[in-house]
């Protein structure tokens, strides 16, 4: 017998594309490379799989070639199944323009939701990095009897457009929900992760769409708070919010810390990603690398300090790379100096070039550029 968890998953890779506009001109936010060999979407995808949720749709809007190639058949996440598995759902029905909010894309994929047999839906965005136990989240949702559960973290409010800030009572029932204001001090902020009964979601989306609403948070969630049906769930796991180039830089650099690395990539809950079959990293006779991470396929013969190297990166003899993120396939030629720089994929830095950003303002070079 196939054991069903009774939960399906919906991932929204484009929500908050704008906060990393530098990188999202060629891809969706969920497709942004992270941590040397991953992409942001790998976190919610792996979290779903670890919770036994195997009926998953990724709701894409535009620029989805990168994501479609990455996901393929879903094999890398054990989601190439006869029953269920991973579906890429291009939500292109109503408008071709950038979506504001997710009611329109949800309405576009209602047919998929209607065909599902599961009772509950986990909806996740891709701008929060974390190895989160969705099983516990779903369990708490069912036990509480809430209509919608909003996953949140407590801390300084992240700088995000339309950030959701919650007030909760002692039983974690949401008593007030504010959108887009950023109160000082410690607050409970949403991390773009919700649980809701499938039938309820369909009904709410149909209703909101009829009214011409667009924002799930503003037009559905807030209204349900008034009815007392929304509950908060404080995520106990370590998370990092990616809401700017700076926070993207910091989050990648944070992985240098062994404890954080263990929290994000625990041995028993690996983060799955597409395999590229690269050879192990080769260190040349002149290599000097310290305090850095390197993914397979890299060749290093220069000086690398406090940096993150993705797959198939090449650092030639005498090149210096300090406090940088070098994405897949990029090459730093002889004698070039890079400091506080983010090189997107397949960038070539020619011999002797010097690129410097500040630790608080990294210099970003977009995909495929030659310098």
């Amino acid at each position: 017998m196939i054991k069903k968890t009774g939960v399906c998953g919906l991932i929204f890779p484009s929500v908050h594309d704008d906060v990393l506009h530098e990188m999202t001109t060629v891809r969706e936010l969920g497709s942004i490379p992270f941590g040397g060999r991953y992409r942001l979407i790998n976190f919610p995808l792996s979290n779903l799989v670890h919770a036994g949720i195997t009926n998953i749709s990724v709701v894409t809007t535009k620029k989805y070639l990168s994501l479609a190639q990455h996901i393929g058949s879903g094999k890398a996440w054990d989601l190439a199944r006869k029953k269920q598995g991973l579906t890429l759902l291009p939500a292109l029905g109503a408008k071709q323009e950038e979506y504001e909010g997710r009611i329109i894309p949800l309405h576009d994929v209602l047919q998929w939701l209607e065909l599902c047999e599961e009772d509950y839906v986990v909806m996740s965005d891709c701008y929060v990095v974390g190895n989160i136990n969705y099983k516990a989240l779903v369990k708490s949702h069912i036990a509480s009897g809430a209509e919608i559960t909003v996953a949140y973290k407590t801390g300084a409010c992240p700088e995000l457009p339309d950030v959701v800030v919650l007030d909760t009572d002692d039983n974690d029932v949401v008593t007030n929900l504010r959108i887009g204001c950023r109160p000082a001090g410690e607050v409970a902020y949403g991390i773009g992760l919700y649980v809701i009964a499938r039938e309820k979601l369909i009904a709410l989306v149909e209703d909101a769409y009829s009214c011409g609403y667009t924002s799930f948070e503003r037009d559905i969630l807030r209204a349900r708070v008034a009815c007392g049906g929304v509950r908060g769930y404080e995520v106990p796991e370590f998370t990092m919010v990616i809401n700017s180039l700076q926070s993207y830089f910091d989050a990648n650099m944070a992985i240098m810390d062994k404890d954080i690395r263990k929290k994000l990539f625990p041995a028993d809950y690996p983060v799955y990603t597409r395999v590229h079959d690269c050879a192990p990293v080769v260190y040349g006779l002149n290599s000097e690398m310290t305090g850095s991470l390197a993914a397979d396929g890299a060749y290093i013969d220069g000086e690398v300090t406090d940096s993150l190297l993705f797959r198939n990166v090449k650092i030639e003899t005498g090149a210096t790379v300090r406090n940088c993120i070098i994405m897949e396939g990029s090459v730093v030629h002889k004698g070039a100096v890079l400091e506080n720089v983010v090189l997107d994929k397949n960038v070539v830095v020619s011999e002797g070039r010097v690129l410097r950003g500040a630790p608080t303002y990294p210099l970003y070079v977009s995909k495929g550029k030659q310098i």
Partner: protein, 406 residues
Amino acid sequence: MFRKQECVAMLLAGGQGSRLYALTRQIAKPAVPYGGKYRIIDFPLSNCINSGIETVGVLTQYRPLVLNEYIGSGEPWDLDRMDAGVHVLPPYQAIAGAGWYKGTANAIYQNIEFIERYDPEYVLVLSGDHIYKMDYSKMIAQHKEKNADCTIAVLEVEMEEAKRFGIMNANEDGSIYEFEEKPANPKSNLASMGIYVFSWQKLRKYLIEDEANPDSSNDFGKNIIPNMLNNGEKLYTYRFDGYWKDVGTIDSLWEANMDLLDPNVPLNMRDTKWRIYSRTAGLPPHYIGKNAKVQNSMISEGSEIEGNMEFSIAFPGVVVEEGAEIVDAILMPGAHVGKNAKVQYAILAEDVVVEEGAVVGEKPEEMENLDEWGVAVVASGIRIGAGVKVPAKAMIEEDQKGGEQA
């Protein structure tokens, strides 16, 4: 119904590899880790798929558990196919009785039925103990062009080395007139690489005849090839001039790994046009610590290196703690080297633990008697206690408690 395949590859993977001693205590030779993230069998399997051969039978016999698990559905090599793909073929029981594979030829004989399903023109016979990248399709093309019955891949070796190999004596047009196994006075330096292309109908006939002979040792080199030569069949050499290494001994396995660190050795693992595929653990990138020093080494995913590494190879999930020194060593998956320990000229098999301050292996330049020098080997899962010294050439198969001499 199975679709016809022009060529079926049969990979002989049943050997114990007894000269790898501790490394093949629990696994068959083709499953021995090699090159920082691979196992030996990744090479012939990847060569097959890169050469367009999509049907591969893997003949297993000795300790097949790890090998079977590793091959699985064949997905890492793109060999999970609807009506082709990789198939593990262990010996089996039949009405006439059960039999182990008596020899390399007998292993193929027992699987005639498997081969016939695909109605092939050619059968490619491979072994699972060599490291090389080779386009088999070119060899098959030559086989067709020469209208040969059997084509044997050969490599030019140094004349003084020739007595260690099976030597093919051939005419100028490549036709073989004599085969000598490890000749004392070799007439040629063309060594057999253990890669054969046979026209299937011909091979089938010889396999059946060979099986009927009770005195035969049912071996390709000892029986099938000499019989074909005696009967005047058309046997040709196929010259290969790339990197090829037998990794059947501790020394050759260690050398073949070290070859990957030598930029002058023509085995390019970074060549994306002829990738070697493997089943990977999917670990995060490896970390090189603030005080680490890594030079001329190869390191794979998930490893944490805080000590020094020189001329060494670390497989996935290796830990080298601060102050540890790794020189000319191979650390297989999950090996852990504690603080201030030294591992030099040694192979640590999977999940070996070397505790604080222990020393495994010796440098040849520090030996009083160089004849006693050799690579030290620690078998998988073994623990070397704090402060223990493991001498050169040692073969450690039991835990060594701290404070004792190995």
